[in-house]
Amino acid sequence: MYNSFVFFLLVIHTNLLFAQHQIIDVCKNACDFKSVQEAVNHAQPGDSIFIKKGVYKEHDIFIDKKSLHLYGEEGTIIDTDNKGYGFKIEATNFSLENLTVVNTKVSYTTDYAAIYLFKCYDFKLRKITLKNAFFGFLIEKSKNGLVEGNTISGSGSTEANSGNAIHLWDSKDMVVKNNQVFKMRDGIYIEFGNNNVFENNRSYDNRRYGLHFMFSNDNRYSHNTFTNNSAGVAVMFSKRIIMNNNIFEKNWGTASYGLLLKEINDGEITHNTFRNNTIGITADGSTRMTYYENDFIDNGYAVKFVGGSYRNKFHKNNFLYNNFDLSYSGGLNDNSFDNNYWSDYTGYDLDRDGYGDVPYRPVKLFSYLVNETPESIILLRSLFIDIINFSEKVTPVFTPENLIDQQPLMRKVEW
Amino acid sequence: MVEFKDIYKKFDKNEVLKGINLTIQNGKTTAILGPNGSGKTTLIKILLGMSHPNKGDVLSNASSIRQNWTYRKNIDYLPQIANFPENIKVKEIIRMIKDLRNQKTRDEELITYFGLAPYLNIKLSNLSGGFKQKVNLVLSLMFDSPFIILDEPTSGLDPVSLIKLKELLKKEQSKGKTILITSHIMSFVEEISDHISFILDGKVYFDGSIDQLKSTTGEPNFEYAIANLLKDNHA
C-alpha cells in the first residue's frame, strides 16, 4: 500500500515537470529559433534547448542564472570563429550535452575558453567535443559538477599559445571522468580545488602536463592514462592526494617525467604503472608518502629525489629494468624501501622465505656520481662505470646506509 | 755482380759486422763461412734489403739497393728456417708466391724433381722438417733467376735429397748462374763452391778460392783448413 502511494506521487511529480518545462528547438530553418543565444534568452528556467545539426557561427553565448538543459545531436557545431568564448555560464542546475564547439580565440592576455563556467553549481557537461580550443572548460568558483565523456583537443604548437583542456579554479566536489584531452597545454589543471575526483581520463600529447594540481588538497585520481606528455602529472603544494591505478607512460625527453611531486605530503600512490619515462617519479620535497604496489618498468630513472624528502614508505613495488632505480640529492631521512622487487637484485634466498638474504642498495654508485657531477652522465654505458658499479655493490663505500632494502622480494609482486 | 762496401751492423750493443768489403762475382759460387753468430745470415739479409746496415752500402750491378726493391726480381732466396703460414696447403703457397711475383716459373719441374707431387694437398703444418725444406727449395728456385742465395740449404735433408740438391746446383752453375751459399756441411761447401769468404769478428778474414785457402793454411784437407783459420785467430 505504502509502496504504491510513493510510486503514485513520483508519477505525478514527473508529469508536472514535463508539463511545466518546454523543449525549444534551434535550427537554421523551421525551428523555434535560429540562434542559440536567442533560444537561451527566451527560455524559462528548467527548459530544454535542442540544437539541431548545423553550424552556428556564434560566440559568447551567455547563460545568466537560468537552469537550462542544452543538447545537440551529431553534427551540431558552434563555430566561435576565433572571436572570444563559446559559452559563458553562471547558473545552477544546468547541463550541456552532445555539442561540438570549435575555434576558440587565442590570446596572450585573456583566457578565452570554449566553455566558461563561473559560480556554477550542480551542473553536467557531457559528451562535448571541443576542437581547436584555446582553453577548453574553464571552471571557476564552482561546485558539484560532472564533467564526463568529453573530447578536447587544441592546436597550439607551443606552451604559450595553448591553454588547458579542463581547468578548475577554486572549485570543489567535481567529478571529471571518461574524458579525452590532447594537444593542449595541460590536460587537466586544478588550482585551489578540494575533494575532486578524476577517473578514467586519457590525457596525451599535451605540451606540458597531463594532469596538474596546484594548492589543492584531498583530491583523488584513478584509472587515468597519461601518455607522451611533456610530463605526465605534476602534483604541487597539495596535501592528501590519492593516486591509484593510473598509467604514466612515454613521457620521454631530457626534462620529462611521469609524475612530479613538489612540496606535497600525506599522499598515497598505489597500483600505478610507470613505463618508458625518462624519470618515473621526481620527488622534490615530498613527505609521508606511501608507495604501494606500483610498477616501474623501463624508465631512465624509476624514482628521483631532488629535494629533502622524509618519512616516505616504498613497499611491495616492482622495479623492472630501469637504468637507475633510485637517485637522490638532498636529505633523505626516515624513508623505508623494504620489501620491494628489484630486477637488478642478484642475491639469494637460502631459507626460502621469499625474501632475499642479502640487502639491496637501489642507488648505484654511478647515479650518486651523476648527482654530484652531472657531466659524468656522459660515461653512461661505459665499461668503467659497469666496473665501479659492481665494486660498489660488492663493497659499498659511497651509497648511504639508510637507502637499503633490507628484505628485497625474490619474486615480482602480483597485484 | 754484387758488392758489399764497408758494411757495419750492430744489434743493440752487439757489433756483428765491422766493415765488410766483399765482391760476389758473377757466374761463380761463393760460400760465406764463419762460426756461429758471425753474421752470415745478417749479411744476406742486408743484401736482400730485409735488414739495413748502420753504415755502408750494397751495390747490385753498380747501383745501390737502398730504397729499391726491383733488383730482387733477379734473386732467388732460400731462407734459413722454413716456417710457413699454418693453414695453408703446399700447392696453395706455391700458387701464392707465383701469384705475388708474377714471373715465369718452373715449379712443375722442381716438384717432380724433389718428389713433392703426392704432398701438394697437405697442409704445411703437417709436413716434416725435411719436406718443408723441399717446399722451401721449390719456392725459392722456381723462378730460375740468375742469382741464387741459399741460407743453409742442406738442413733437414736426407742423403738422397742432398745429392739431388747438389746435382741441381751443379746444373745451375753450368747455366752460368751466380750462387751464394752458407752451410755448416763442409763437404758440401767444398764440392759446390768456387770461392770462399770467411767472416770472423765482423770482418772478412779470408777471401779466395779453395786452393788458395788450402795453400795459405798449409792444410790439404778443406775442413781442417777452415778449422785452422779459427785456431790461428784464437792464438
Partner: protein
C-alpha cells in the same frame, strides 16, 4: 698490396678464431633480437658489447696475427715486393676479416628479423659502422705495438694494456677529472675528452642516436648540438679517420726502417 691483403684475409677467414668471433656475434644478436623483441634495447646491449669486445679482439687478433706470420712475412720480404704493400696488406687483411665477422654476425640476424622495414635501420647502421671503424683502429694500433716489440710476451702485454687504457683507465681518469674540477664549467672539457678516445666517441655517437640519450640531460643536449651539426659530424669522422690513418702511417714508417 691487394694480393697480400687477399692472402691475409683468406688466411684469417679460414681460421677457427674468425668463426668463433663471427658465431659469437651471430648468437648474441639472435638471442637479443628474438628473445627480447625490442630492437632498441638490443642495440643498446650490443653497443655495450661492441665497444668493449671489438677493441679487445682487434688488438689481440692484430698482435697475434703479426707474430704468427712473422716467418711468412720474412719470406715475402725477400720477394720483389714493396715493404709498404706487405704490411699494409696484412693490416688490412686483419681489419677487413674482423669487420666482416662483426658485419655478418650482427647483420644476418637483424636482416632476418626484418630490420630493413623498421626505422631503426640507421641506429643499427651506425652501430655497424662504429664496430668496423673500431676494428680498423685497434688492429692498426696492434700492428704498431707488435712491430715495435720483437718480444711476443711484451707485445701482448702492451696490447692488453692499450686496450685497458682506452676502454677503462681513460674513463676513470676522465671521471676523476670531472669530479675534481666540478666547480668549473666542464662542457668543453667533456666534449674534448670524449672526442679523443675512439671508444668513448663511438659510444656517444650511438647513444645520441637512441632514445636513451634523453638520460644524458643537459650535457647530452650540448653533445647533440655539437654532433648534430655538419662541423660536429665532420670533426668526429675526422677524429676516427685520424685514429686509423696515423697508426697506419707510423706502422709503415717503422716497418720501413726495421730489420727482419
Amino acid at each position: 698490396m691487394l694480393k697480400i691483403l687477399k692472402y691475409s684475409f683468406f688466411d684469417l677467414v679460414r681460421s677457427r678464431w674468425s668463426y668463433v668471433y663471427f658465431l659469437f656475434y651471430l648468437l648474441l644478436s639472435s638471442v637479443l633480437l628474438f628473445l627480447n623483441n625490442n630492437i632498441s634495447n638490443a642495440i643498446i646491449t650490443l653497443l655495450n658489447v661492441v665497444i668493449v669486445l671489438v677493441p679487445l679482439i682487434g688488438t689481440i687478433f692484430g698482435v697475434m696475427y703479426y707474430y704468427n706470420s712473422q716467418e711468412f712475412t720474412a719470406l715475402l720480404l725477400a720477394q720483389p715486393i714493396r715493404r709498404r704493400s706487405i704490411f699494409m696488406g696484412q693490416f688490412l687483411g686483419v681489419a677487413v676479416s674482423l669487420s666482416l665477422s662483426v658485419l655478418l654476425g650482427l647483420g644476418i640476424p637483424f636482416a632476418l628479423y626484418g630490420l630493413f622495414q623498421s626505422n631503426v635501420i640507421f641506429d643499427f647502421l651506425i652501430l655497424i659502422v662504429v664496430a668496423i671503424v673500431l676494428s680498423f683502429i685497434f688492429s692498426g694500433l696492434a700492428f704498431n705495438i707488435a712491430l715495435s716489440n720483437s718480444n711476443k710476451i711484451k707485445g701482448f702485454g702492451y696490447a692488453i694494456l692499450l686496450w685497458l687504457f682506452m676502454a677503462v683507465i681513460y674513463d676513470g681518469a676522465f671521471l676523476i677529472a670531472l669530479v675534481y674540477f666540478q666547480d668549473y664549467p666542464l662542457d668543453q672539457f667533456t666534449l674534448f675528452a670524449t672526442l679523443f678516445n675512439p671508444i668513448d666517441l663511438s659510444r656517444i655517437l650511438i647513444l645520441l642516436k637512441l632514445d636513451i640519450s634523453a638520460l644524458l640531460g643537459y650535457t647530452g643536449a650540448i653533445f647533440k648540438d655539437f654532433f648534430g651539426t655538419l662541423t660536429g659530424s665532420l670533426v668526429s669522422l675526422g677524429v676516427l679517420l685520424a685514429w686509423v690513418l696515423l697508426p697506419s702511417w707510423r706502422m709503415l714508417k717503422v716497418a720501413q726502417r726495421k730489420d727482419f
